[in-house]
């Protein structure tokens, strides 16, 4: 846990007398004027900035937010109830639809929980493949999140298209591996569904070798941009104690300076074999949450580099694992992984039958939304948009 990197030293600051001074003026004008009428508006569910069918009941005093309640459930399909009515394996494709950006990590979290319930161990090669696809998923999720977030700030899609270009390269790899770009349904209990195709490793290595160039360009384009600094620094501050108490996880938690990464804490899979660091922020504002994603992508590239180098041969499925009449032993288990958005957990109660008695998804985006109101109070509507963007929600997962 001691290997960490702090991003304060590299944090660029705005020169005095630029856009930021306007920003500070706006902040000081927040007090006073208690006579003004409160205005209640409903942002969403079709607001372009809400990243899906998500609504916020906002009470405004002028342009300042005085109350904000997130409202969701528009995509609710009771995924948990559906899973209770089918076998363990049949739920695997449905986990793809939770966080539809990161189907690989969803698969992994579910497979991990069921494997612990059934006492299976994935093979060595499968463990490496899982790490590789999970870190690729992290790359594409973080790149796209930065794209979305800057889009919310008004970059009109250019960085988003750059990110999508890279994402498409990764999705091509996934498609070659699993047959599907996004709904991969790739992992199985005790391993992965199919082995890597010939030449896949070389393609992935090429991607990993080229990705830093994209990252450099991306970072140069964005992180010292005056408007971005003015919009994101000091906005939506999430204090460290509140972040811990509100069970915030993932990059959002680490941007507030809490060194907690499930990859380091639980060392699930084979993460203890890789050398990588946990980036930490210490302001906990939107800018830190943005930068954390850049730094995490660099760490993911390190892991990918090592995993692709050390990838062993051998089978990709535990030979003891059964596909048909799979009945794990009774008991309950909570398995969790560090998904790109935070801690993704699956809680299962098995009763010895082919179906789970209880199947629960602990979605990181839902729990991270708990602090949305605390971060938005006192800010303007335009800031609410980027604060929500920095939380990184996917409604497929929030609503389940």
């Amino acid at each position: 846990m001691n290997a960490e990197v702090n991003i304060t030293s590299t944090r660029p600051q705005l020169p005095p007398g630029t856009v930021m001074s306007y920003h500070l003026q706006r902040q000081s004008a927040a007090g006073g004027d208690a006579e003004s009428d409160l205005l209640e508006i409903s942002m969403g569910p079709h607001h372009p900035s809400t990243h899906g069918v998500f609504r916020m009941d906002v009470v405004l005093d002028g342009e300042r937010v005085v109350r904000l309640k997130p409202v969701f459930g528009y995509l609710h399909r009771n995924h948990e109830k559906l899973a209770e009515g089918m076998t363990y394996l049949s739920s695997m494709p449905f986990t793809d639809r939770l966080d539809y950006f990161c189907s690989m990590t969803n698969n992994w979290a579910y497979a991990l929980a069921v494997e612990r319930l059934a006492g299976l161990r994935p093979t060595e090669r499968a463990e490496y493949i899982r790490v590789i696809v999970a870190e690729l998923t992290r790359l594409l999720n973080h790149a796209c999140l930065i794209g979305f977030l800057t889009h919310d700030m008004g970059t009109m899609g250019t960085p988003l298209m750059y990110a999508f270009r890279e994402r498409e390269k990764i999705l091509d790899l996934f498609e070659e591996l699993s047959g599907a770009r996004m709904m991969c349904n790739y992992m199985r209990f005790g391993g992965v569904r199919v082995d890597l195709t010939p030449g896949w490793v070389a393609k992935a290595q090429k991607l990993v070798a080229e990705f830093p160039r994209f990252l450099d360009e991306f970072e140069k384009l964005l992180t010292t941009n005056e408007i971005l600094l003015a919009r994101s620094q000091g906005v939506g501050i999430l204090p460290r104690t509140l972040a811990v108490n509100a069970s915030v996880t993932g990059p959002m938690l680490r941007a507030s300076g809490v060194n907690y990464d499930v990859r380091k804490v639980d060392r699930y899979g084979i993460y203890d074999r890789f050398d990588f660091r946990v980036p930490l922020g210490d302001h906990g504002d939107v800018y830190d949450r943005l930068m954390i994603r850049f730094l995490e992508m660099r760490e993911s590239l390190k892991i990918l580099h090592q995993a692709l180098r050390d990838l062993p041969g051998g089978p990709v499925m535990d030979p003891k694992a059964k596909l048909r009449s799979f009945r794990p032993r009774p008991g309950e288990v909570y398995g969790r992984i560090e998904a790109p958005k935070g801690e993704l957990g699956f809680y299962l109660i098995g009763d010895g039958s082919p179906n789970p008695y209880r199947y629960r998804v602990r979605p990181p985006s839902l729990v991270n939304l708990t602090v949305l109101e605390d971060m938005c109070l006192g800010h303007t509507v335009a800031d609410v948009v980027i604060i929500l963007g920095s939380v990184d929600i996917v409604l497929g997962e929030v609503d389940r």
């Binding site: 459930g73 811990v244 309950e332």
Partner: protein
């Protein structure tokens, strides 16, 4: 981390009057859990969060489970009079374990890096006494997840700051995650109903699937 049994002993010492028992996990590789009575659970949760060697400051997962009434048969030996002589015979007795709703909390420590500790609280029954104590005052992270349990299971959390439906809409009546939930009759007319639709049509019209 201390074992669950050690934590139980320390809890009993720290919170007098707390009802706490260890619930074994049938899966031997995983941790057992602690069931707590409702009267002092808030104090116990505060102890778990603030004790310097435990420091469970992070409530990761909060979830509900529905346990239906269970009937099970028990074999008993009884002395009965048979033809004037007392004999011991074996009889089977049907017993009903009343159902309950349960809220389960998975606690970790971000500060010390250990966990999980699983704590649970149970309602008295599934019908009219579905009340539990909200632990949101201790862990803010439970706020939305307790709301979700209220929404899908119908457990009322006392002390929750904002207990409303969260995934289903306001005005929805039932609790869909309960095991005995009956799906609403949402059959729409179809000229050639088949398979599942035919089954729905049959239930909808009450006879052969035709209007």
């Amino acid at each position: 981390m201390e074992t669950v049994e050690q934590i139980k002993v320390r809890l009993e010492a720290a919170v007098p009057g707390l009802e706490v028992e260890v619930i074994p996990n049938p899966n031997s590789a995983e941790q057992p859990s602690l069931r707590m009575g409702l009267t002092h659970i808030l104090a116990a949760a505060r102890f778990l969060r603030d004790d310097p060697s435990l420091r469970f400051d992070y409530a990761s997962n909060v979830t509900g489970v529905d346990w239906l009434d269970q009937t099970f048969q028990e074999r008993q030996r009884q002395r009965v009079l048979v033809d004037g002589a007392e004999r011991e015979v074996e009889i089977t007795v049907q017993r009903i374990r009343p159902g309950y709703l349960e809220a389960i909390y998975h606690l970790y420590s971000m500060e010390l890096g250990h966990g999980p500790l699983v704590i649970r609280q149970r309602t008295a029954n599934r019908t009219d006494q579905c009340r539990l104590v909200s632990l949101t005052p201790i862990w803010r992270g439970a706020e939305f997840q307790e709301r979700e349990i209220y929404d899908l299971y119908g457990v009322v959390f006392e002390g929750h700051p904002d207990l409303r439906r969260i995934l289903m809409w306001e005005g929805f009546q039932d609790f869909p995650m309960r095991k005995d939930y009956v799906e609403p009759d949402d059959y729409e007319y179809e000229p050639t109903p088949h398979d599942l639709v035919l089954e729905k049509a049959r239930l909808h019209y009450g006879h052969g699937g035709r209007s």
